[in-house]
């Protein structure tokens, strides 16, 4: 903030704390949420608008993410897998937040376990989703 006097001490901030899984999933919740709200929503609306606009517009959308043979290109995989994992990670940390809203799961051990579980669950579900898509 502009009005801060630089001579005054600051309260302890991020750099003095030892990183733990709870800090990682906390910032991941914000990062994945912000990413989906911007990139994700734009792509979802582009997809819907392309379906509504007709064959030509839909082909333009598909072309950006696929190769000539019909498979996904690098951008398609990065965006596809990235959004899938973002959604699932945000969903898992979101469920964790709903549990913590009830006052449960604040004990050190259980809290750390819950944080780790969100990453494990989102990664496994992402792999499962893309294996299913790959085997279609």
């Amino acid at each position: 903030m502009a009005s801060r006097n630089p001579a005054r001490p600051l309260s302890p901030h991020l750099q003095i704390y030892k990183w733990g899984p709870h800090m990682l999933v906390s910032i991941l919740h914000r990062a994945t949420g912000s990413g989906m709200a911007t990139v994700g929503s734009l792509l979802l609306v582009w997809w819907l608008a392309a379906i509504a606009s007709g064959e030509q517009a839909y082909a333009t959308f598909v072309d950006v993410f696929t190769t000539d043979t019909g498979g996904l290109n690098i951008l398609g995989y990065v965006i596809g897998i990235g959004l899938t994992w973002s959604l699932l990670q945000h969903m898992m940390t979101g469920i964790r937040h709903l549990v913590m809203d009830t006052g449960a799961g604040f004990e050190l051990k259980r809290n750390r376990m819950g944080a780790r579980a969100t990453i494990l669950a989102s990664t496994l579900l992402t792999v499962a989703f893309w294996l299913y898509m790959g085997m279609k």
Partner: protein, 128 residues
């Protein structure tokens, strides 16, 4: 809370006069989003094909158009509330006001396009 007149404390609305509205609606839409996004993932995964004709036919069905419209409403409201918190954390002064207005424009413009697109496809089919 804890300050102000007794009647103000009972109402519990705080200085923004919104009380727990933002917090509570963020949770309500979060709960709805779990079901709506799970539906979308399963629906997309189970589509027979992803060419124009198949996808258009899929969105034409009320079974797809209605949950998709509800998803847009719930998800867009949820991310509007979420990005508001992000903006409040990182932006200050004038730029915060400007960003907040841009956020509303972004949400309503995209949401409007999405809902119109869904309805256009849903109403374009031959009456079944």
């Amino acid at each position: 809370m804890g300050s102000g007149t007794p009647v103000g404390r009972v109402r519990g609305l705080g200085s923004a006069k919104h009380g727990t509205q933002h917090w509570w609606q963020q949770r309500l839409t979060a709960g709805a989003n779990i079901f709506l996004m799970a539906w979308l993932m399963v629906a997309v995964a189970r589509m027979p094909a992803y060419d124009y004709a198949s996808v258009h036919l899929w969105l034409q069905s009320s079974w797809a158009a209605i949950p998709m419209a509800l998803l847009i409403l719930s998800v867009f409201y949820h991310f509007r509330l979420g990005l508001q918190v992000v903006i409040e954390d990182y932006m200050h002064g004038e730029s915060r006001v400007v960003t907040m207005i841009l956020l509303n424009l972004f949400t309503f413009t995209l949401g409007g396009i999405a809902l119109f697109a869904i309805l256009k496809v849903a109403f374009s089919g031959a009456p079944a």
